[in-house]
Subunit: 765 residues, 2 copies
Amino acid sequence: MVSQGASTWILQEERFDMAALGKCESVMCLGNGYMGLRSATEERYTGEKRGLFVAGTFNRFLSNTETDNEVSELPNGADFLEMEILLDGQAFSLAQGTIKDYSRALDFETGELKRQVLWVSPTGREYQLDFNRVVSLKNLHTVAQKVIITPLSSDADITISTGINGQITNSGSQHFAEGPKRFYDRRYMQLVQTTTHSGIDFVFTTDVSLSQKADTHITMDRRKISSVYKTAVKSGASLIIEKITTVHTSRDKQSEGLDTAALQVLALTALKEQSALGYEKIAYQSSQTWQEKVWDNIPVTVESANPADQLALRFAQYHLQIMAPAHDNRMNIGAKALSGEGYKGHTFWDTEIFALPYYIFSQPATALSLEEYRYLSLPGAREKAKLGGYTGAQFPWESAWLTDGEVTPLYGAADIITGLPTPILTGLIEIHISCDVCYGVWQYYTATGDEDFMERSGYELVFETANFWASRLEPGNDGKLHINNVIGPDEYKDKIDDDAFTNYFARWNLWLAMEYYDHLSQENPALLTKLDPFINYRLWETKAEQIYIPKPRTDGVIPQNQTFLGLKDIDLAKYKNQEHVGSIYRDYNHEQIGEIQVCKQADVLLLILLKEEAFTPAVKRANWDYYEPRTLHDSSLSLSTHCILAADMKDHRLAYSLFRRCCNIDMGPNPLSSNDGIHAGSIGGIWQCAVLGFGGLRLIGDKIRLSPALPENWKRLSFFSYLKGQKLKIDLTPDTIRVENLTKTAPVELEINGITHVIADVLEI
Amino acid sequence: MVSQGASTWILQEERFDMAALGKCESVMCLGNGYMGLRSATEERYTGEKRGLFVAGTFNRFLSNTETDNEVSELPNGADFLEMEILLDGQAFSLAQGTIKDYSRALDFETGELKRQVLWVSPTGREYQLDFNRVVSLKNLHTVAQKVIITPLSSDADITISTGINGQITNSGSQHFAEGPKRFYDRRYMQLVQTTTHSGIDFVFTTDVSLSQKADTHITMDRRKISSVYKTAVKSGASLIIEKITTVHTSRDKQSEGLDTAALQVLALTALKEQSALGYEKIAYQSSQTWQEKVWDNIPVTVESANPADQLALRFAQYHLQIMAPAHDNRMNIGAKALSGEGYKGHTFWDTEIFALPYYIFSQPATALSLEEYRYLSLPGAREKAKLGGYTGAQFPWESAWLTDGEVTPLYGAADIITGLPTPILTGLIEIHISCDVCYGVWQYYTATGDEDFMERSGYELVFETANFWASRLEPGNDGKLHINNVIGPDEYKDKIDDDAFTNYFARWNLWLAMEYYDHLSQENPALLTKLDPFINYRLWETKAEQIYIPKPRTDGVIPQNQTFLGLKDIDLAKYKNQEHVGSIYRDYNHEQIGEIQVCKQADVLLLILLKEEAFTPAVKRANWDYYEPRTLHDSSLSLSTHCILAADMKDHRLAYSLFRRCCNIDMGPNPLSSNDGIHAGSIGGIWQCAVLGFGGLRLIGDKIRLSPALPENWKRLSFFSYLKGQKLKIDLTPDTIRVENLTKTAPVELEINGITHVIADVLEI
């Protein structure tokens, strides 16, 4: 159970709970975009899930069997956090003895994890143990640990065993061949492991220092290197252990061209430099970087009657910072970020629809890097289109390394009735990802005006996704073009025809290609010549004209797909109030749910949120009133969409309750919610609820709109936003709006409550 | 800490000890020669090492790195023992709460493992838990578990999660690709995993039944399938859970030609049959088989003042029974049997020198199977000879699957000074294994007179090993032929020239080939024609004449090798009395030990034990007096050799103390001694001490000798022995000898205390 600590900067666990090990490991995960380190404890427990993930280091577990279902995934690297601590011969473990005082706390302000335990051993001796840990945001390769042990009852014999353990697997799949293990200068430990298929070297180097002399011996085991330190500590005195570790891989840009031996040297040199700084300096530098990059630069501040709101927004900004591999445009964000094995480190539409807005508005350079990843993935997307018999670029539903192409597994768990494995269809037919990628480009360009990116990459992405849609459309008996056999965002329904979300967006993708073509004809005809192989203007135009678009009924309701509105309507009250996701599955199986008017998330509402300008307020209202009651929010992605729309609808109570539910996806009481990692999309959603929903900052067509709708218990919301290269400070109260252009090199146009303002300096309303 | 239980049939752990998990898992290992199942507990603990090994299912972990040091090894199969037990919401774990009563006991008589715990949960509720488990000796594929849970304080809500978990690795190396997972009839769980390189399918099928109705749901995870059962149990009533599991692999002879799907069907059918029997019937059948095969058939019985002696002999017979893959002659015994990952399941000379005598005398059919393994390995041995530039058959120092050839790893742990990995030389130069294999053939033939085996396999093995030696000898400046750059049984010394053990045995190997040739010339000339390609009589003769044989000095001492007797002599008292093996390494490194007259085990003494007829009693005595004081018994194989010789020397006290030390290799107080598995060779040694040492049953030249020398505290020793196809019962007291020929189809010649007796019925002396 996690809760607020001493301030809204601090997320804490008050009581040690063996049943919630996985949750704390995930929600208190440390990282810096280069790596993510689950916050496993130094001592080991059954039920723990230790994990270290380095962005972009994908590998596929080798196999020679026909039943193979392995796909490229982010391998779980060696563990260096572990310390076996013997206190007077007794292994330190909170499963035994008595815990007199305990707290574990992650301080978002500094990025430091602290655990403090006052422990009485089974033999009755008392010890104070303080554990501090930081993954440096300043030096992306560095992890620092500091452990302080103070015997309180009597002098103590203390033995510490710690090193680097490469026996870690991804739930049993071992991605690494064992490489060299080295001791240097009888002090520095180094372990190399190499991914079996992609051949990426991981080099772990570590240095352990104690505050007093200790008998030391060094040991090696399979995939493992460690040192044992024995010493005696006076009662009341403290033994301080510092462990500084660096992580390097041959995938790092700086390592390009280096062989393993050279990488080992580079790593050792880096470790020596970092180790010379010591824990406190490393932690201080990292904390300073947190201030510079996030808390002094782009804080989201809320004055709420419920302090958990501010805590949640800091939680969101913290994780959005550590999940993004901003250092390398060959990488993107995984659905569980770098915080667990869930979804194998794969990138989904979650990036464009749920996370990207944060970066576009807050850290445009990171947004650019994420967009460039999609551009660099174009070869795989073209390959996927070709394999399906299409042209242009069809983006994989799940993406890993640039050249991996589609990495969605083919089979999931077995059907409990037939006992046979169920096929996973998303990689085959959840094709809206290609317009989501196009929407990402549009969002980025609209908010930033970054013409340079567009010329290098953006236009080509839009043209090539348009080409995919042009080839994907199928003629129907009605003389229209259809998109059949797909899955929309509402994954309760599969193999459906004319999904409103997909069809609308496909047409918009074609339109956008035409619009950008027209724009370039005016502004940059030379570029059009260069992009000529990707341009099929007449085809786009013809296809867009013929595409079947589900029209609103007379009551304004847009059919989610060809069959939805004809399905059975049942009383959903029981599931709407569910405490756990998926409760409807206790009463109905997937096939039966397919026959009911119920949505996991509402396709039509998401469409209306993302493309509001295409619909009248009456249609928006009609669909809200129809679909929201039929939506169970069984996707962690659903809550923010519906929160924002509820805010638009001025249903403050529902909006706020959806916001709280969104916060609770990871921070709530369910101890198992985040075992496989945090929910990157819903964390982007927490920020979206606040800034896009309550703050009302939105991209509508080619305009930027601000229409605040603060919840009743919020007295103030302020945040920073980059728009067209200008940094704005936006300060909102229930009665006032203040927008300050901090950059002041160009005025920014903003539509506020229906009136367009040009903000060169400060606007107060 | 393990000790004797209620009788000398029972090995027990009286107190739960987290620090000795690995030891109990090994010494209480269950098995049947087909599989070995480490006795891990149902509930999991950190520090445990769960393990299931199926004989002969070798696989090599794939790797594409230059630093690769992986070799073919026995993969650790899926775990099905685990049961997560929730008692009123509290996970059952002996790390928490209070243990009011505890015992864990392995009954050698029945092969059944029982654990009984009276446990008070952290919330103060009391429960009795009984765990029973058996690996069937009757049906080699079956494992049965029975768990009885009795809440004592109040009615209890009990939840059990159990299934098949394929996430297990060999210390982080994953040997399996994930295969199909199936539920059949919503009841039977099945998981398939396939070795990545050798492509062996493992099929685990299991059935769980409860004594009362329970809410059940089934779940799947990566490499994992399981069921959850929830039920309420009245205070004082018992919930009984039976879990019957079968293990099949595509390496099984009965599975030859079956594809995975067919094997799955076979496994399911087998499981249903076994499950229909239920736990008690399976356990009873297995226990009956133990009686028939071992305890009623070939018991070794001792009346000793120290009951631990009888316990140790039963421990030895138990493990010798479960370690031998008697069902399949393509398999042999690993140095750690099937009880752990140590030595990777590889077969060493331990089989021929330390384990084989037990089978030859007690279970000749098993001995035959082990000999046939060597014959079937001939292609690999020929390949190894050829690779080294030799002819004939050079057996690998470490063997795995028949076609694997040499599987000794190339590198061990790093040198702590240089930090670089140290090369492992045994696979390259510990070449005496080839004469050990020849010695195995000779032992088997001499004891059994099995001419059929010799004609099919034995003669060829002897001729081809002779051919290897003929090609391996190197001419020296002295006009003699030498064997340079080897490691003898004394592994303290490496890269040595003219090791007495190796040179004597090489000549004997050549002589034996000649002797068998002469024999066949008389008895079976037709066979000689068939074996002609392997016969080089003149060459053997010439080489044997010229081979350099280290002669006894005038004082009778035979130089262990060219340099040994010139090395430094130091006071070894401190290491002779060592409590832990390897204590000399605390003061000297390997290079320094190479410069001291100290033996890990004494090559010359082992030579004299195995080939006594070649040495005079005076030479035997002189070497005993010289070498034993210089021997640290730092090999688990050393103790039995020296115990037997001490018995020969009538040093009863030393003999008995070496016997006890031999018993304590696995059963002694060191909690870490057996973490990686039991010591198969020293377990053969426990039996050797008793039967070959104190009983004095020995093969001397072509004679069988009996010369008892019971320890002072033994009043009686009786055992059974197969000789020349006759089963003898041998009953010894300090004053009497009684030998009964039970088979009576042929008289058996036995030299007893210098006099040859022909025993057709009963002899009493």
